[in-house]
């Protein structure tokens, strides 16, 4: 073989041995993932968070394109010019924008902008500015149901997480699963087709269809806003449910917060009072005890009681709310005039053991299981720690703390035939392929029988029709309900000037029965539920009957 050929082969042999050594070094001696995936790009593909719709498929929460505007201070030219131009578009004053720009830093987040603002900023052609694409939650109806929906914030890793309400409870369903794209790329970042390509598609979050009706929600929010201002209350809540299924048709609490700017509000605004606050329900509790006594056949609606004056329990005297006594009154009349003395009689007839067992059956001190994040169970003291006075005061809703959702659920059970149901907000869950999972009403237990239920329902209708206060009721419709005025316990005693006024009422008109609980905290125009919460309930009921197109029964 000629010497030139040998040299040629020798040269390639040395190159070949060098390559082998280098590969040996990378793959065996200095094995690390960095060396292997230098040209292997791995991209996380973020899924789209599920959307939230009302019962008519009208959107309550959507996703929208947004952009994180960032600054690279070392690359900017005229700082003053940039501040002047940016502050106009971002509507931030020049001083705060200037304070944000720290020239020692490489990267500064300026704010989140929408597409329109992004285009305006881009048209300025300022160096040192950049955008990072983000998907943010968008609320086409603003904060129509802030407490119910919750909001999306960040966790410690900077990932989106749902907090409170639906966003918190269904976070895993809404979040979906991220996908990955692994592909070998050349030096210019182009994919190498013969190289390694691997893609795991992201699974978008599931959409939720709520039992809430946007139109009812908007109407109730408006009415509650007017009610709070008219009665000068501190706050208020209205919950409307279908008593037969315990589907939540509307839930509004005021004051609420702006979900888009949740970071501007303190945490107390995020709590949903309907599921997270305890209160003494007062007289709206009376029908529950009455229903229990009827179910146990201890009393009948036309039984009579001699109401001649206050009743003494131990060292305490229990009076009627107006300290007036009618003499011989029926059980129905006890509810109509909301007699505490009468209720003590009913409680005594029922007996302490039965009374306590019904409180447990109604679900007090237990979670209702509603699909909202932040529910508390409250606390039902053990029976052996109850004094005789406790068994008396509980009959008219004092000395027991419940959440509004527990209250409306137990009330629904006495007018729906006796069934205690799990309240629910989400009616359907839809995956990205369009498959829907329907959430069915869930009966937990039966508390009273059909006959007792229809008796108490009739009594409650008579409470509205024969009550002492003549409310502006929608004419021709049959409505039942009960007022409640609970005093607020402060440092071991009840404050006589601070009350929680409430009204719980229902319409059984098919095909859209509804049960609504109206609560006003510390109304100043009148402390009584009959003069504040009740008129507000009837205004709401009137609108609901019209919305559901229910014809009057007695035109």
């Amino acid at each position: 073989m000629p010497i030139r050929t040998r040299l040629f082969f020798g040269f390639f042999l040395i190159l070949f041995i060098l390559i082998i050594f280098k590969l040996f070094y990378f793959q065996i001696l200095n094995h690390s993932s960095e060396n292997i995936i230098d040209n292997l790009s791995e991209k996380k593909i973020l899924p789209q968070r599920g959307k939230i719709f009302d019962i008519n498929n009208q959107p309550l929460v959507l996703n929208n394109n947004n952009y994180q505007l960032y600054l690279e201070p070392k690359k900017i030219g005229e700082k003053d010019d940039l501040i002047k131009k940016l502050s106009k578009i971002l509507t931030i004053d020049e001083a705060s924008l200037s304070a944000k720009i720290d020239e020692k830093k490489d990267w500064i987040a300026v704010g989140i902008v929408d597409k329109e603002k992004k285009e305006r900023i881009e048209s300025l052609k300022i160096s040192g500015l950049g955008f990072e694409y983000l998907i943010k939650r968008d609320y086409p109806e603003a904060s129509i149901a802030a407490h119910l929906l919750g909001f999306v914030g960040k966790n410690y890793q900077g990932d989106d997480v749902g907090y409170f309400g639906i966003e918190g409870y269904y976070d895993k369903d809404l979040a979906g699963l991220p996908g990955f794209l692994k592909s070998e790329k050349d030096l210019l970042g182009r994919p190498i087709l013969m190289g390694k390509q691997e893609m795991i598609e992201p699974e978008n979050g599931r959409d939720l269809i709520l039992a809430i009706d946007k139109n009812i929600q908007a109407m109730i929010k408006e009415k509650l806003k007017i009610g709070i201002s008219r009665y000068q209350a501190e706050s208020g809540c209205v919950i409307v449910v279908n008593p037969k299924t315990m589907a939540i048709l509307s839930l509004v609490c005021l004051p609420d917060y702006d979900q888009k700017k949740y970071f501007l509000f303190s945490e107390e605004y995020f709590r949903n009072p309907v599921i997270s606050d305890l209160y003494e329900p007062g007289s709206i509790f009376k029908p529950l005890v009455m229903a229990a006594a009827i179910n146990e056949k201890k009393i009948k609606p036309d039984d009579f009681l001699e109401e001649n004056g206050p009743v003494k329990i131990g060292e305490y005297l229990i009076r009627t709310w107006d300290n007036k006594y009618e003499g011989k009154i029926s059980m129905t009349r006890i509810l109509q005039k909301s007699s505490n003395v009468g209720m003590v009689y009913v409680g005594e007839k029922l007996g302490k053991d039965k009374l306590y067992s019904y409180l447990e059956k109604y679900g007090f001190g237990q979670l209702t299981g509603i699909d909202l994040q932040g529910e508390i169970a409250g606390y039902l003291r053990p029976k052996n720690s109850w004094y005789p006075i406790d068994f008396s005061t509980v009959t008219f809703g004092q000395g027991i703390a419940v959440t509004p959702i527990q209250m409306i659920r137990s009330f629904a059970s006495i007018i729906n035939g006796g069934y205690l149901l799990r309240p629910y907000v989400v009616a359907k869950i839809r995956d990205q392929d369009g498959k829907e999972k329907i959430i069915k009403p869930q009966v937990e237990r039966r508390i009273i029988n059909e006959i007792s239920s229809s008796i108490i329902k009739k009594m409650l209708i008579e409470v509205v029709e024969g009550g002492e206060v003549k409310w502006a009721r929608p004419k021709g419709y049959t409505l039942g309900g009960k007022t409640g005025t609970a005093q607020i316990p402060i440092e071991g005693h009840y404050d006589p000037n601070k009350t929680i006024a409430s009204f719980i009422g229902f319409s059984s008109a098919a095909p859209s029965p509804f049960l609504a609980l109206v609560i006003l905290r510390q109304p100043k125009t009148s402390p009584w539920g009959s003069e504040t919460a009740a008129p507000l309930f009837f205004e709401i009921a009137k609108e609901l009957l019209i919305y559901y197109n229910i014809a009057p029964e007695n035109p």
């Binding site: 394109n65 597409k115 086409p140 129509i144 994919p191 946007k214 929608p474």
Partner: protein
């Protein structure tokens, strides 16, 4: 003769190799362009979806009403006594 055939084969293989390499590059470029287009389409889709839903929202209706100087009706009129309606 054999050497000529071998050179010819080497030339064909070389040409084929270059062709595959160039088409690979072109396809890679196309994939990158399509990827970008898909992202843009998805964003545009999201934008349009939001716009459609916003058109139907109470917020939008309220802002249009304000622009048109609509006045809030203070007391709605309800058909309370429907006897008259039923008579006809």
């Amino acid at each position: 003769m054999l050497t000529k055939i071998l050179w010819f084969l080497v030339a064909v293989l070389l040409f084929f190799n270059i062709y595959v390499f160039v088409s690979n590059l072109r396809m890679g470029e196309e994939i990158r362009a399509f990827d970008k287009k898909i992202v843009l389409l998805r964003q545009e889709n999201l934008d349009l979806e939001t716009k459609i839903f916003k058109l139907n929202s109470y917020e939008n209706i309220a802002s249009i009403a304000a622009q048109l100087n609509f006045v809030k009706k203070e007391m709605p009129v309800y058909l309370e006594d429907l006897k008259y309606a039923y008579k006809n």
